[in-house]
């Protein structure tokens, strides 16, 4: 949707440019062919195939058998599916709630010119350089109840049964996610905070506003679009979380961290029920689309009003 508006705006620009005689070599439709082909082949076609598969029973051997709505009625009555949607929502919300304040504070701090800032920042960004798989394997080892951190800090972790309880394993997933992704959002906020015009702070300082007041009345409002960008990334990332679950909890204990994306993998590639897995995949596609539409509408992201108006 946003890209559409952007394309339209660009087209209008180009038409103006042509009319005014600047940039006479306007790119033709042919320029869009590679991207369109790629997108059709790897996004649209699989999506349609998945939609078709969701009405069949297929275990990967032989040809799919048409089963009508069987997968969908089964999914409707499947308590694990409903639970997985709640878990996905919970993990996504936890991600946003935990990461946003930390990365805003870090990002705003990083936008300054303090001593040692560059060195500390370089250290903060290390998690970003590691693959999600490596991060998960690392934390899995660090959180071992008998030989990891919990065994040394019994006062905090009790018997260390972090991954054996639902609250514990959700906490671990949220924590590892935050550990890994906060640096990225810090980077985004750093850029946003750097772009805030200094005159605003100078004016506020003259009016006697302290650091805290400046933060709440200048920095935060000025970061509005940055916050939206960062949150959209967090929500999309949260809904598609998979690797950390695969390695840290494998959906367990029981089905207590079986989020929708992992449930889809389980049904498809562990149980070889590709029909049922396709139905879950479609549900995920629909929900993710709805969530992004709502977010774009609610936040005014599609308009992208400048925060620098009147300056």
């Amino acid at each position: 949707m946003t890209s559409l508006t952007a394309t339209l705006a660009a087209a209008v620009e180009r038409r103006r440019a042509v009319r005014s005689g600047v940039g006479a070599t306007r790119p033709g439709l042919a320029w869009a062919v590679p991207a369109t082909l790629f997108f059709t082949l790897f996004a649209i076609v699989p999506l349609v195939l998945v939609a078709v598969l969701s009405f069949t029973g297929w275990n990967g051997i032989g040809s799919p058998q048409w089963t009508g709505l069987a997968n969908w009625t089964a999914l409707w009555h499947d308590p694990v599916m409903l639970k997985s949607l709640w878990l996905s929502a919970l993990l996504t919300t936890l991600g946003v709630v935990v990461q946003t304040p930390i990365s805003i504070l870090l990002g705003v701090w990083a936008a300054g010119h303090q001593r040692n800032r560059a060195v500390l920042l370089a250290i903060y960004f290390v998690p970003l350089l590691l693959s999600a798989t490596a991060v998960s394997v690392l934390w899995r080892a660090l959180l071992d109840p008998n030989f990891g951190i919990p065994s040394e800090a019994g006062w905090l972790f009790g018997d260390g049964n972090l991954l054996g309880t639902q609250s514990g394993s959700i906490g671990v997933l949220a924590f590892v996610g935050a550990w890994q992704w906060t640096p990225l959002h810090t980077l985004i906020y750093q850029g946003g905070a750097r772009a805030v015009p200094q005159v605003l702070y100078q004016a506020a300082a003259i009016d006697g506003a302290g650091t805290v007041r400046q933060f709440f009345h200048i920095t935060l409002p000025q970061l509005r679009n940055t916050i939206i960008t960062s949150m959209v990334l967090m929500v999309v990332g949260g809904l598609t979380t998979f690797d950390t679950v695969l390695i840290l909890t494998q959906g367990g204990p029981g089905t207590d961290t079986t989020i929708s994306a992992y449930y889809m993998y389980q049904q498809g590639f562990l149980s070889f029920d590709f029909g049922g897995a396709s139905a879950i995949a479609l549900v995920l596609v629909v929900i993710a689309t709805l969530v992004s539409l709502v977010m774009v509408r609610l936040t005014g992201y599609d308009k992208m009003n400048s925060t620098a108006e009147g300056l």
Partner: protein, 447 residues
């Protein structure tokens, strides 16, 4: 995870980091394969026309022997064998995507039982009865309890081609000596040992509950000791009433008793075998016992060689008084098997190839890399193995076993594995009571 469980079982923690990385990359491949059905075969172009047979095996360190056997075969055969490997944990997934395509191999590695049952049902596999009729040794030279794993509906579909992996009760000799106990011969003795060890501040039994399949091993042995192999066979045959029987209830009650006695500590669901957590508990003397497949020995040897040499003990699972199962029964992974595609263009060459699986060369080569073959001629070479005492113990155990129960998650079709693992875990950590567990097991697909 079914296949990765079986894999991690056989190949242990040495490869675990690699494995995890591979899981993700193969997943991407598998996602594509799900749509295009054309991923994962390494060079399976029209196997037949060029006078070759393709042998597909799980890719790991054991491939040296498979390569050697293929070379031996090619020395005398006009039809040449080509060894293809699928590395990584997702062997079963990839096999599933290519088995009904032109890329399918002629002969492939599998775990018998539920891992080939869907292929048999789909009419893709060749019964080996005619091969066996022409060469009876293809059956008679293997231990029957192992060979039977790949018999489906009375027909043989596989020939054992690696080593057997029975589940044993491993112990830390030093911890046992300090507590003044010996490996338990009976269940009651085990319960008493648990109390003794707890009083000493030890976790009596190490359990990698996070992997789920180590937990399943306790169910497999207890059900067999209490009810014999018949109960599970009945359930797998499609009669769900077996799970609700008095014997089933009794086995569950005993397990509950063991958990409630604190035998596994309280944080076993956060511990894994595959990342080395539970083997370390045993090796470092924090725990006294671990019920694990025979690969525990290789795992401990790689991570803690001194411990393995001096303090690692092993015994058969204790007997249960009043149980109808034979105390000599074992459970575990009986062996890996070669099965043959019905579509192969060179059945005669395949038959010749399979004969090598009971040859002296095969047995010596397998023993050389630490696998324990299940042929009748294995016995005469046991002294040449890397760990003769250990291999002799295992071999005799398997040979004397009236029944060798294939791991439940291998015996059931892949579609049942996830639900089975979850039920086992939830019963063990108290989230499911016996009634809910029985209901969950009754809901598993059996075909």
């Amino acid at each position: 995870m079914r296949s990765s469980a079986s894999v991690s079982r056989s190949r242990t923690s040495r490869n675990r980091v690699v494995r995890n990385r591979v899981v993700v990359s193969t997943l991407a491949c598998a996602l594509v394969a799900g749509v295009t059905a054309g991923c994962g075969s390494s060079g399976g172009s029209s196997a037949s026309s060029s006078g070759t047979i393709h042998i597909l095996v799980y890719g790991d360190t054991g491939n040296t022997v498979e390569k050697q056997i293929v070379d031996t075969f090619n020395k005398t055969s006009k039809v040449k064998a080509v060894l293809d490997t699928i590395p990584g944990a997702n062997y079963q997934q990839k096999l599933q995507t290519i088995i009904n395509t032109p890329q399918a191999p002629d002969v492939f590695f599998n775990w018998g039982g539920g891992s080939i049952a869907p292929f048999v049902k789909a009419g893709l596999l060749m019964p080996l009865d005619s091969f066996i009729a022409a060469d009876p040794q293809l059956k008679s030279d293997f231990l029957p309890s192992v060979f039977n794993t790949a018999v489906i509906d009375g027909k043989a579909y596989g020939v054992p081609m690696r080593g057997t992996q029975p589940v044993l009760l491993f112990d830390n000799k030093k911890v046992l000596a300090d507590a003044g106990i010996t490996p338990p011969a009976t269940w009651d003795q085990l319960i008493a040992d648990v109390q003794t060890l707890k009083a000493k501040g030890k976790t009596p039994i190490a359990l990698g509950g996070g992997d789920q399949w180590p937990t399943l091993m306790w169910f497999e042995y207890l059900y067999d000791r209490v009810a014999g192999p018949g109960l599970f066979a009945k359930a797998l045959g499609g009669d769900p009433s077996a799970w609700a029987s008095a014997d089933s209830q009794k086995a569950l009650g005993m397990l509950k008793q063991l958990v409630d006695a604190g035998a596994f500590g309280s944080n076993f669901d956060s511990v894994k075998f595959t990342d080395g957590g539970s083997p370390a508990l045993l090796a470092k003397g924090k725990a006294a016992f671990e019920l694990m497949g025979s690969w525990e020995y290789a795992t401990e040897k790689a991570a803690n060689p001194d411990f393995t040499k001096n303090e690692l003990g092993y015994s058969n699972f204790p007997t249960v008084s009043g149980g109808t199962g034979d105390p000599n029964d074992v459970v575990g992974n009986t062996n890996n098997f070669y099965s043959v595609l019905k579509n192969t263009k060179h059945p005669d060459a395949v038959a010749q190839f399979l004969k090598l699986m009971y040859s002296d060369e095969f047995v010596k080569a397998q023993l050389g890399i630490g696998n324990l073959p299940t042929t009748t001629n294995t016995q005469q070479f046991l002294s040449t193995s890397t760990d003769p005492a250990y291999d002799t113990f295992q071999y005799n155990l398997v040979k004397q076993a009236p029944s060798f129960q294939l791991s439940w998650d291998q015996a059931y079709p892949p579609a049942a594995t996830t639900a089975m693992h979850q039920a086992v875990q939830q019963f063990m950590d108290g989230k499911m009571d016996a009634a809910a567990f029985i209901k969950a097991m009754q809901g598993l697909p059996t075909s």
